[in-house]
Symmetry: C2
Subunit: 345 residues, 2 copies
């Protein structure tokens, strides 16, 4: 119960929200290396079926002499973010951000702190926040903290948070916790003419602040949950203000909808890690006239990261997609066995 | 009255809707040429202030030694479509498509033809179609013709139409009527690392069918009006169905909203032709930390195309943006004087 509610809390929150290092240099090196030797390019992967299949797949669709050749313009790869490119424990990182924002504001503003829903955040009283069909309590908190904020103000807030907040288990900045083997997949695909997209239940505005720096994925290749912005003149400058209008949750069946909305064509490669990615995996691989590739990151490594599937501590429940994987030919990545390294040094 | 209603009819229609030749080869040639000599690349432009300013602007933002240098990732250019990249007379081309679909269906289906709103389309009875606050009559027609259609079915319908329908004045296929000077601008910018986006009041799904072939602009770089799709299983295949949910009109103040939604950063170059592009021109050029460039295509050529601004025959009213242009430094393109050629041969 608590677990499901935490997930619902996250999903409800993200639609209002929109993460530093020398990663770019590392990415450029990876890009160069991967064009030369896939084994080197995917260096943090042990020799395993998924690695061999991915290399064979990419070589096939990039070979102009192959009947499975895919023109570069159609090489679209989609990646879930939380649990696929970086962890989603103990709570999805964007939820950690939202709680921090509320706590900071409550410390400065006693009237804000007295609000029953702020009290609920401070005491992590999830049931109170989620009471009611539309989670009115949570929406109140979101409205109090983000709606009315300009896109620039929100970007600044996220940027400051990610450059200072530290993960409770790994004692590192959140943006230093991306999975090195997945960074290598991104670079490997990019070096073969693929356009990588993040397609996440997280807020588009939240991810766009750091996606280019952290993953080499520019803002325009980030698909996420969102609400419409509203154009206002502030000091004579056209400014976009965050609202609660036309909320779109880019999760489950929403992922193919978000992909169509933003990309306008069917991807050929899809990586996910939970049942929230099932519809996107199906959309990528079932009835696709192009040869496609689907894969699931299975969290099996309690020592180096986390181990969960049917009973996750927060989000990331993986039951249906795991059961369907053999039938669909989706590759299941055993994090403990397949990855020689989890995080970048 | 009639004029305004036709425009409203168009705007109301497009949200449910989503253009051949050797243009790609020509584009590749243009791309190569433009990197060599901007004067050659913009060969259909007479020597004029806008042409000189555009060349100087592009050289400045692409020069790493210039204080106005813009990294390639931030070189985003946005273009309105109807009236900016191709004509919007006698009616916007997508409206011609919608009317043709209704007429074709009515010829085959006598029950459909008897519907009062279909009769209104057949007799071009615009006031009846637009009666009511939400234009219920028009929405009924749209629902009867497009809602419930899969994205693939819609794409096929648009594709068949554009490969056969002929423009009443020019007696050419609609997709053979793009403005050659604007095709040259697209190629010139692309050869200098710009990513070109269409940002149009037209339907995203309608434009994506032909934008890559006609403009070299891939589906993921098309921002337009839309409604949410809905994921359904059809014969076991995940299929996206067009609906009337969460309608978004990508016009006027909606254009910066659409840009933020799909691109996530502020453009530095903007071309439009009407007051529907005013907000997008302002958003691109006012308060932008980067050096920006705004331009307006002014339809002044009744002999070769059309001449209109304050009293257009259908859409494309240009009053406020034209008045604001000198104050903002936006370049006004005099189609008759500045273009040596209007359409590609």
């Amino acid at each position: 119960m608590q677990l499901t509610m935490t997930k619902r809390l996250f999903v409800a929150l993200v639609c209002l929200l929109g993460f530093s290092t020398c990663i770019k240099r590392a990415q450029a090196q990876l890009d160069g290396a991967s064009a030369l030797d896939p084994i080197v390019a995917l260096g943090s992967w042990n020799d395993c079926a998924t690695k061999r299949s991915l290399i064979a797949y990419v070589q096939r669709v990039c070979d102009p002499k192959s009947s499975d050749f895919v023109p570069p313009a159609e090489r679209i790869a989609v990646f879930d973010n939380d649990g696929t490119l970086w962890p989603e424990n103990p709570v999805p990182f964007q939820l950690a951000y939202a709680f921090d924002v509320v706590e900071k504001k409550a410390a400065k503003d006693s009237q804000f702190a007295e609000h029953p829903m702020v009290q609920a955040v401070l005491s992590r009283d999830i049931p109170t926040l989620l009471a009611g069909e539309r989670h009115e309590g949570l929406l109140q908190v979101v409205a109090m903290t983000h709606a009315g904020m300009s896109v620039e103000e929100f970007n600044k807030s996220v940027s400051e948070w990610i450059s200072s907040a530290v993960h409770p288990k790994f004692s590192k900045r959140y943006d230093e916790l991306t999975y090195q083997p997945m960074q290598e997949v991104l670079a490997f695909l990019r070096s073969h003419g693929f356009k990588n997209y993040i397609v996440s239940g997280g807020g588009a505005d939240f991810m766009r602040v750091w996606s280019e720096r952290v993953y080499g994925i520019p803002p325009e290749q980030v698909v996420g949950s969102s609400a419409r912005t509203k154009l206002e003149l502030r000091d004579g400058v056209p400014t976009l203000i965050k609202t609660l209008d036309q909320i779109f949750i880019d999760d489950k069946a929403g992922k193919p909808v978000g992909i169509h909305q933003s990309i306008g064509r069917r991807p050929i490669v899809c990586f996910g890690n939970s049942d929230g990615d099932l519809a996107m995996l199906q959309y990528t691989t079932i009835g696709n006239p192009r040869l496609s590739f689907g894969a699931i990151v299975h969290h099996t490594d309690q020592a180096r990261e986390y181990a969960y599937d049917s009973a996750p501590k927060s989000s990331g429940k993986l039951i249906d997609a795991l059961a369907e994987a053999p039938k669909r030919g989706w590759h299941v990545i055993d994090m403990k066995e397949d990855w020689s390294k989890v995080f970048a040094e």
